[in-house]
Symmetry: C2
Subunit: 237 residues, 2 copies
């Protein structure tokens, strides 16, 4: 059975198989070595994630064993401001931290060998959010701010440190890109192809640091380059 | 457990999670309803596929039950000419037909309820093949021709008819596109984003005809639009 990498998160995970999406790129990268399994739930925060985690990760996993890795990519909805139009998705930052800890603990208890890779929420372009409202916004104020997203990103990095696990700090990384609000984000929150590429590259790099890479994984069935043109069936015996 | 759709085929399947690839697009389309599982093996023909099919589809599937559907997309390599530079991949057309029958029989015996969707090889642009050789080609003649691919495509359509199962005839469909050698193919054989889009749309349409569509599938966990903003947790109880 091929090993599996689960992608658990909100809409930025659910949409990760769009054209050039980071999930699709991972599946392409690992096309002969790993099954990339999509478990993205648009709009979800860590509080709701904890409500459903037992269903998302049943005791007997699809592969029968422990997944190789799980990416946990929440926070963009938790960081909605509590007094703006998407307040119902807001989770206070101390609870967000606790919830992330609980998610990591759940996964590590279920599968001690599974790598849990946290990903911080991305930065927010407030103008982009105002131009692309998801719900009615009579106040005319952005429901998310980059400052709040940054605080949640920092909390996520802190949780990874406290758990001794890896993290991709996409909030910080993206803001190193010139003109990041337009280059990386399509509506002030979700990712463009360029933004997706950054997440993909960061995830691949972090997995590699943890020993998960094309060099260490078994290729499923003989590669065409290994098949002897003079006796192809020999490769399959 | 989410139902699964397996994609079984050669390089056109293995590469189907590239940017805009038909496999990635399927996974995106079914992002909350189906797990799309990639089982593409570059260079493989139906003879080699039969050698490995027991390993590709173990008795206990990943999902524990029968997959919802399996796409079977072989023929591009079988149709390599027997006297040209990729002859080692060639499979005679009568054996190709038999092999496709055996693949369908294997899957239907293992999982009687699983939909087996055959896909014909794509058309070939011979000039494109000469410009993009995969192996040394001292003869300077294309290793695949559109005429041969067409014969294998017809054989594939015939097998579907004989089995009473659905088929996507991508060889015929693509040649309805104006300037198809450049619009649909990147190297005379493999698919551009436009070519991938056609395969995606045809597969989705055929699945829908067989009763597999977003309208009939269960959405995994409450959709954000169904969550009551005044009492979100109610949706999870």
């Amino acid at each position: 059975m091929r090993p599996e990498i689960y992608l658990f998160g909100d809409s930025i995970t659910e949409a990760s198989f769009c054209d050039g999406g980071w999930g699709a790129s991972l599946a392409h990268h690992f096309s002969r070595t790993v099954d990339v399994v999509l478990r993205g739930y648009s709009g979800y925060n860590t509080r709701w994630a904890l409500e459903v985690i037992e269903k998302v990760f049943p005791e007997v996993s699809r592969g029968g064993g422990a997944p190789l890795a799980v990416t946990v990519f929440f926070g963009a909805n938790d960081a909605c401001l509590p007094n703006r139009c998407s307040a119902f998705q807001h989770v206070p930052i101390h609870e967000y931290k606790q919830n992330l800890h609980s998610i990591v603990s759940f996964l590590k208890k279920r599968w001690p060998t599974t790598l849990v890779l946290l990903i911080t929420p991305p930065p927010i372009d407030e103008e982009g959010r105002l131009r692309n409202p998801y719900v009615e916004n009579p106040m005319g104020l952005p429901e998310r701010t980059n400052e709040a997203a940054g605080a949640y990103a920092k909390a996520c990095v802190d949780v990874a440190g406290e758990c001794g696990g890896p993290v991709v700090d996409i909030w910080t990384k993206m803001q190193h890109i010139s003109d990041w609000p337009r280059v990386c984000l399509s509506d002030g929150l979700h990712l463009t192809q360029s933004g997706n590429k950054i997440v993909f590259e960061e995830v691949v790099a972090r997995l590699r640091e943890e020993g998960i890479s094309l060099e260490t994984l078994l290729v499923d069935l003989p590669h065409i380059a290994e098949i002897d043109p003079n006796d192809p069936l020999k490769s399959f015996s």
